[in-house]
């Protein structure tokens, strides 16, 4: 999920030597289609195309409970006992402002793009899909150096930025 396109996820995939299919969502399509405002997310889908489990926010395969859930599902087909997250509706005004900001970003008008995304973020402060992408174009050095600076992010939130 990167408004800045395939160039952002590609290095992570290459470094990990990942062999699974990676798709790029530059338009926030997944946020409105699935109904969430934060990542990382996990959705498990069975052979019939039915969603059997979903977690929006905090889905991390490095967590033992997440790994155990996925492994159990792969071997037994059961996700019994695992609590899913319900979807949430993303305000269409927020998505419109994101879309407008994205068009501006692509035309090279970063200043106006930021203004649109800032407006979207003010309208829906809990929407981290918008908020963090705003941060990432305002402060690329906090995202695209050695690692994502989460301490800086917490500091920004504490300051209401």
């Amino acid at each position: 999920m990167d408004a800045q396109g395939a160039a952002k996820p590609r290095p992570y995939m290459e470094k990990a030597g990942a062999t699974f299919t990676c798709v790029v969502d530059a338009e926030n399509t997944l946020s409105k289609t699935f109904g969430f405002k934060a990542v990382p997310n996990g959705v498990l889908v069975d052979e019939s195309g039915t969603v059997v489990y979903q977690k929006f926010g905090g889905f991390d395969i490095r967590k033992p409970e997440t790994r155990e859930l996925v492994e159990a599902w792969l071997s037994t087909g059961s996700t019994a006992g695992a609590e899913s997250t319900g979807s949430t509706t993303v305000d269409p005004r927020v998505q419109s402002l994101f879309d407008e900001g994205l068009a501006l970003l692509r035309s090279g008008d970063v200043t106006e793009s930021r203004a649109k995304w800032r407006e979207a973020s003010t309208l829906d402060p809990d929407n981290y899909v918008v908020h963090k992408q705003l941060w990432s174009i305002e402060n690329p050095e906090k995202f695209y150096g050695d690692k994502v600076d989460t301490t800086w992010q917490k500091d920004q939130l504490a300051q209401g930025l």
Partner: protein
Amino acid sequence: MTMGSVVNELLPAATLPSLDGTAIDFASFRGKKLLIFMWASW
């Protein structure tokens, strides 16, 4: 139009480009177990 993904219902329809630009339809994984992991560089 129904928005959002719901457990015990069909996966919402979506088609997105792969890293090399090939269109990938989520429905094309039908018949296999599918784990969708959504992440970002930010």
